[in-house]
Amino acid sequence: MPVSLRRCSLRLVATLFLSFACLLAQDPTSDMTPSVARVGDHLACRCGVCRNTVATCPMLHCEYSGPMRARIKRMQDQGVSDQNIIKTVVKEQGVVALAAPPAEGWGLFTWVMPGVALLLGFLVYSWWVRRNRPDPEPVSDADRALLERFRGQIENEMGESDTAGSDPNEKK
């Protein structure tokens, strides 16, 4: 080991050991494998600081995700399936351990409500469009031809005006 790093490290250890003790623990991310991440993605990191999952929590010395990754790895090594690992954790801690509620029971509301809101929004939109449509008035063929002519003229003029940088409907 290089002498300068040893000197620095010893000073660090000497001066900061008590306060930085948590920094000196073993690297917990060594437990992070793709199979651990697969399970960890379903579990919330409950450290109380971040809103990540056990798989995505980036805190090196997280008090929750680190040990949980190690535990998942241990259980996988013992041949426990992903689903059973999740079930075991939920049995111990409740559904609060999951990163998002399951799509069943009350948890279903979590996933359904944004969709319901969107659907309601579309219904309101359709209602508004129908309500705000002008009543059709009987128009003769001659009137219709005249209207079309004027409409075309308006569109042309507005197109020219628009490209010149002005909005003819602009009102200050």
């Binding site: 490290s9 559904v95 940088g165």
Partner: protein, 670 residues
């Protein structure tokens, strides 16, 4: 000193109550002198709260540790900047800041509109001052910033304070809370004007123009505050992210979304006299969500790392919020006749229709966030079982909504008012659509197979093309007609209609931000232990640990690492991440080593040394496109400022009726 400060706040509270009573008595009792007296009370409250704020800042600066707030949130070693920012570092001080900003806004609103809306101003003042009375009441009777440290019956002083949380000792965090407050509190002014116009049945849309300017300014503050918060999270929290979907973060986003919807739909009311109920709902929702955000931050209603500790203000905030909600519902539902639309919709394929559609998607997004934030609280109340809703929920629900909104950002401005023909739609959308498809296909063939990211990049190209084409067509037209250079023509184009082209620039900024957000799909992260002189290869970089040293100053102890970063053998930067231990608070913090670039950021967190002292541990992040978020923000800021500049040419058109024929000829003023 502390007595004077507390007295100033108490008088401000009393004057707020007086202003509410005087304004309403003046208006409904036909006593104009009382209404004028209420106006003057508003100015007096500002003076009193300025005195109180100045006294608290003076106490922080001079280290008056007899005052509990000063002792809890500052210490002697802190720099003057952070002593000043300790004003809003704690619950009591930040409530004083809230109150002071509200009094400032109220004074400006009353001063600038007192003659213009003589009939409506008493109601506006009553609404503003009710809110003022609530907040000054809190810092008078519940959470006084001037409470002193007591031992028995005597006032005591301590030699030094506990200091400000180290995480807050950053310039971005110094600016983030005031900016957010300027945005949150500012939403009360458009709300007060909207309710004032509703209650007094204000004729015409003059108040809308006033409100719109206020809304743009407060929207800009909210945007700045949110972005500063993201910037702070990115550079200070050492996790390589900028948004964590924390309830308090969500609380800051929700009023921003409704304010964005309002800024779009209010144009409908200005131009066509449509969507009046909708605008009332949006402006009220923005105000109520601002209060909800403040409630979430201050009451511990939801678990959040950003929230102030549990405090006794929960019942007060909840009561205020619910009362305001009920009053808003009553005010709108009893005045529906006044809010009747003046025009009809000519076509579904029209700007009017697209505005409502965009509004609905924005509100769906807002609702999904609100639901995710409050659902665990609701569930706990109903079933006594805790639930967690974290990032996966928000990503699954919000990403599709955000992509659709990005699409509408490009579509909306190209659809004409009243009606668009299929031919004009084809002309407007053909090139941007082809560019969007080409970009997505090119990236797909280039090796990117992340579907959401490909869609986002394609849509970003689509929207950018629509905006640039608008600038190009308009500038070319002016260049041809008036024989001037293209840049000058572009300048003229923007100046002639600042609102429209400023709005396009804002959209361009939002696109740039979306590009930055999309980059997160390709983040890389590893943890490495490095010995001195050892090199590791990460992403596009070769990183060598050059040195580690430690030291101390008055404020903190530190351990500092130096990393030489090379790419293809060429040295590109020296990164110097650090760990700090703050002496006063005994809390630690990490300073990231960060190399910013347009394509990707290299982000290094120094995490300490291994127990045997042989190696230092680092977290390396490669974060693509993050810089585009900050670039996008500057474009949004620039575009919004452009929107606020009056146009060179003023077009006045009578409001269009059913078939869009002007009832009187257009007039042009220059």
């Amino acid at each position: 000193m502390e007595n004077l400060g507390a007295l100033a706040i108490l008088l401000a509270f009393c004057l707020s109550v007086f202003a509410v009573a005087a304004a309403l008595a003046g208006k409904y009792g036909r006593r104009p002198f009382l209404a004028v007296s209420a106006e003057r009370a508003v100015y007096s409250i500002w003076v009193l709260l300025t005195v109180a704020a100045a006294l608290l800042v003076y106490s922080l600066m001079t280290g008056d540790f007899r005052i509990a707030y000063v002792q809890a949130h500052s210490d002697r070693a802190m720099s003057p900047l952070y002593k000043f920012t300790a004003w809003w570092g704690g619950q009591e001080g930040s409530l004083l800041l809230w109150s002071w900003i509200l009094s400032s806004y109220s004074a400006i609103a009353v001063w600038t509109s007192r003659h213009k809306f003589r009939n409506m101003m008493p109601v506006v003042i009553a609404i503003l001052m009710t809110t003022q009375a609530f907040f000054t009441g809190l810092i008078t009777f519940v959470l006084s910033p001037f409470q002193v440290l007591m031992a028995g019956n005597g006032i005591i002083s301590v030699p030094d304070g506990r200091g400000l949380d180290p995480l807050l000792q950053w310039w971005t965090m110094a600016a983030h809370p005031p900016m957010l407050y300027l945005g949150y509190v500012g939403s009360i002014v458009p709300f007060a004007f909207a309710m004032g116009s509703l209650v007094t049945h204000q004729p015409g849309e003059g108040w809308i123009h006033t409100t719109r300017r206020w809304a743009i300014v407060t929207w800009l503050f909210q945007t700045t505050g949110i972005t500063l918060g993201m910037g702070w999270a990115y550079t200070v929290l050492s996790w390589g992210g900028y948004w964590g979907w924390d309830p308090v973060e969500n609380a800051s986003l929700m009023p921003w979304i409704t304010a964005t919807a309002f800024l779009h739909s209010v144009m409908m009311q200005e131009k066509k006299g449509m969507m009046k109920v909708w605008n009332m709902v949006l402006v009220s929702a923005t105000f109520l969500l601002s209060i909800l955000g403040t409630t979430l931050t201050r009451t511990g209603l939801v678990a959040s790392v950003h929230a102030f500790a549990q405090s006794p203000v929960k019942p007060y905030f909840t009561t205020f919020l619910l009362t305001a909600l009920v009053l808003v519902i009553i005010a709108i539902s009893t005045n529906l006749k006044f809010l009747k639309s003046e025009s009809k919709l000519e076509s579904v394929v029209s700007r009017e229709s697209s505005f409502l559609f965009n509004n609905l998607i924005l509100l769906a997004s807002c609702f999904a966030i609100l639901w995710g934030t409050l659902f665990p609280v609701i569930m706990e109340a109903l079933t006594n079982e805790k639930e967690t809703i974290d990032t996966p929920y928000y990503l699954r629900v919000e990403v599709p909504i955000a992509l659709f909104l990005l699409f509408l950002t490009g579509v909306g401005p190209l659809i004409a008012w009243r009606k668009s023909s299929l031919d004009s739609l084809r002309r407007a959308f053909l090139v941007p659509t082809l560019v969007g498809i080409a970009v997505a296909a090119g990236l797909g063939f280039g090796g990117i197979h992340h579907v959401a990211a490909l869609t986002a990049f394609g849509l970003a190209a689509f929207v950018t093309t629509t905006i640039l084409r608008e600038f190009w067509k308009g500038s070319r037209s002016i260049q041809t007609k008036e024989s001037m250079a293209l840049p000058k023509a572009a300048f003229q184009l923007t100046w002639r209609n600042t609102r429209r082209y400023g709005g396009y620039l804002v959209h361009l900024g939002i696109v740039a931000m979306f590009v930055g957000f999309t980059g997160s799909a390709f983040n890389l992260h590893v943890v490495e232990n490095l010995g001195l002189g050892q090199t590791t290869h990460f992403g596009h970089y070769d990183i060598k640990l050059v040195n580690v040293n430690d030291g101390s100053n008055d404020n903190y102890e530190f351990s500092h690492a130096s990393l030489d970063v090379r790419r293809n053998g060429r040295e590109i930067t020296l990164l110097e991440p650090e760990i700090r231990l703050y002496k006063a608070s005994q809390s630690q913090n990490t300073i990231v080593g960060l190399r910013r670039a347009l394509n990707e950021d290299l982000y290094v967190v120094y995490s300490g040394v291994l127990p045997d002292g042989s190696k230092a541990t680092f977290q390396f992040y490669q974060l693509p496109l993050v810089s585009w978020i900050w670039i996008g923000f500057w474009i949004v800021l620039f575009g919004t400022v452009i929107c606020l500049i009056p146009s060179k040419v003023r077009y006045q058109y009578a409001r269009t009726e059913v078939v869009g024929i002007a009832s009187k000829p257009a007039t042009v003023q220059s």
